[in-house]
């Protein structure tokens, strides 16, 4: 089974016409995110695998599975750096 990811419980999200703002109550930092990034963060309210996150993008955008997978991996890496994620090992 794959690793599962979940957004940090200290995050609060603001939807702002096509993109968004993420506020981290723990680190006291805030970030602007794209529409697709906001969609992924909404999905990450519950633990998700990379495959499930790729499906979130495929359901919303006309992109290839390869493009969606690359976007998800890049997004997760950015989130990891900014301490926006919790990670679970394989189950």
């Amino acid at each position: 089974m794959s690793d599962r990811y979940m957004r940090h419980p200290d995050l609060r999200l603001a939807d702002v016409e096509g993109d968004g703002v993420v506020l981290h109550l723990g680190t006291r930092r805030y970030f602007s995110v794209s529409e697709s990034g906001l969609a992924l963060l909404h999905a990450l309210e519950t633990p998700r695998t990379i495959e499930e996150l790729v499906q979130v993008l495929l359901d919303r955008y006309e992109v290839s599975p390869e493009q969606a997978a690359a976007s998800v991996r890049q997004f997760l890496e950015t989130c990891r750096t900014a301490e926006l994620l919790l990670e679970e090992g394989p189950r």
């Binding site: 200290d10 609060r12 999200l13 603001a14 939807d15 702002v16 016409e17 993109d19 968004g20 703002v21 506020l23 109550l25 006291r28 805030y30 602007s32």
Partner: protein, 305 residues
Amino acid sequence: MTRSAIAVRCSDDEVRAALEEWLGGLRLAAPPGLALDVSIDAGPFAQLPDPVFEQPGVGFARGPNDRGIRISWSDFPADADIAGGARSAAVRLSPAAVAELDYCTRTFLLSVVIVLLRHVGWYHLHAATAIDPESRGWLVAGDAHAGKSTTAALLAAAGWQVGTDDIAFLEYRDDRVLVHTCHAPIALRDGGRRLLARAGGVALPDRGKTGFWPEDLGGVWTPLVLPEIVIFTTVGKDRTTAAAISRSAAVAELVRWSAWVILEPDLAQVHLDTLTRLTSQARCYRVTLGRDLFARPNRLIELVT
């Protein structure tokens, strides 16, 4: 004396009367049911273990399980506890704090009131408020050196209605964001006072400023503004300029100037939603304030309309 919507309960009649006079003078039209329960206490007063937020002289720590807030004053011993969702604050003032009660109200107790008001859906924003001659509501947001007070004084002198130069409270009600203000003098540094060519005023020695009531400057004080225009200001040189910004950029700016959003996790989302709604209601701009405004304050209107 105007009666405050925030009650004061204190066994010391002199302290209670002084605090009631201060709160009444703020003329805050806050929802009923809020109270300060004040006791005079020799201590001890413990240091905050892990402040989540600090401003000069005042620290804020979350209560157990991230609910509620403890506020501590470092200038003189005093603290306050506000339980999660509570409409009253348990305030302890040391005799030394009572001896500096006027200063205490402007720093520590004002912070207590700001946190208490969050519990009834009033969210503080560092912003000046005004209503222009065409009845449009304005917010001028920014830090302590962003020109908010000088702009507020300038607009008051130009006949605008002005609410506050810094202490604004956002409330989401009836599908719109309203901004409430308290009645407090516009606090000008010497530089702003010179540029406005204003003498007189009330000395605010602990802030190194001079206070002017909007009415003294030729304006009218307004307790309530429905913002149509939000500007985020910085001080420039000669010419005033304005550039429209995106809603997400505006939300990020509002978070910056409404830093209390991080205090209590239970309230953070609704606070953030209120800031976000404001950006759907108002047009938002970054404005560099120039000296040309002193000759033509209404140039601000020309730049954004």
